[in-house]
Amino acid sequence: MKLTTKNRFNVAMALIAPVALIGLLAASPAIAREPFTKAELADQEKALLAVVDHGRDLWHGTLPSMQTNGLACGNCHPDAAASNPHTFPKFQANLGKVITLRDMINWCIMVPQVGKALDVNGDDMIAMEAYAFYLYRGVKIEPGLATRQTAGFDVKSGAGFPKKGSGVAYDNEKAPVLPVINK
């Protein structure tokens, strides 16, 4: 089609109008979404922590179908240590391919724990993932040496345990400085 001057105007308006409308709507205080209020943020955090709590319970053996030999995720991964959720998807050497964290969780359930895999998109799997990721917030991905393993931050919640730390534990920032003697 040959574009006349009028046609060019019409095409331009057709492209600009929706954008202009969105801009007008955004500029209108009556319609635009305000930033989340403190109360809303608190609700969101509460909802997240409820899922993290559930994940922590599952991690420590509250769902019997996840094992047939007594083992729980927490046996090898206290505080989700050495689970390194933030590094997935990655090449998992023992499986010889790139997998997701959910794949790895189900592998651990099925092989070392000889249990029944979780629904990969189910609430329990989301809770497991939420617990691991929550503990690794802010942890950098650092491949490092083969001997290097990472652990999570202080756990602030969990069913059956105090919601506040006892004060006896150290988190990463408060880790004791070890004496180096005769070295």
Binding site: Q149, V155, S166, I181
Partner: protein, 337 residues
Amino acid sequence: MTDFNKMSRRDFFTVTGKAGLATIAAGAVGVNFGMVQVAEAAVGKSKVSPFRFAILTDAHLFSHADHKFDAMLEKAVADCNKAKPDFVLYCGDIAQNGTADQLDKGKKILSKLTMPLKVIPGEHDWYLDMGAAWRGHFGPQNWSFDHKGVHFIGMNSILVKDFWTGAGMTPLERMGVMEMLESPLAGPWGVQAEQLDWLKKDVKKLASDTPIVVFTHSPLWDYYPRWNFQTSDAPEIREILSKFVRVMSFHGHVHQTVYNKIGNMGSVGTMSTSWPWPYPPVKQAYPEHQQLRADPGNFEDGMGSQLIDLESDFAGKMLYKPFAESLTPTMKNGFKI
């Protein structure tokens, strides 16, 4: 085998003083694991008749029949029998949930050792019935004996303040709290006042050049309190033992190779026969003594047993005996404690 578990301390001294251990030790002559010979200044006038002992720890046996952890403890026992140490020290956590059947199973497997055995408790052995079943199987929670010029000490380091009575917990609930490594509810554990008094009396008359080897479930230094990789009264223990020229400390609980040196004490962590714990997020003074990261697809990786050879000058050589290749070059051929 000598049923060492049923023996009292006096019985053990009798055996060690007579032909019992000497006869067994004779079988160790000629065994060579290619360890590096380390020259070390003599420790005072005390002389050690060179010998080897072994450490097993943290089997965490479940009640399930034919559990994979049963086989791994069996394997470690077989490895020990081949290495022919004078005796074996077990550093705690035979059971996972502290039940009598789990302790029975452990005692049965450990009875296949062809040399004497001494045992200290771990928290997994203790908190279901506050050590009643464990004591019935393995005797006193703390002990000492002398062997070929060395004074050996074992103590129960997993005693916590009563957190369960006020909370109205059942024994099973109490055990559940203690089973969880990262549970903050129990707080730090230690040997507590009674055992500190016992230790003071035990070493009071020993000359300062007496070689000392001490066993506890948890490390006698502040490694990572969140996981109870500590003993709260370790400073007091180290103070009591500070008069000695040199002290070797061995501990279980950490399920990993780890080494530290504080004052006159060299401290060595031991490999389990159940699972390896990750290294906690703290800097280590001797990071070259950290084992390689375990392959999750190999259920035996990161675990094993350990042998210690003591020379006449109380130079100790530590040799981890992993089931799979887990050691850095620093540890591969043994290292000085």
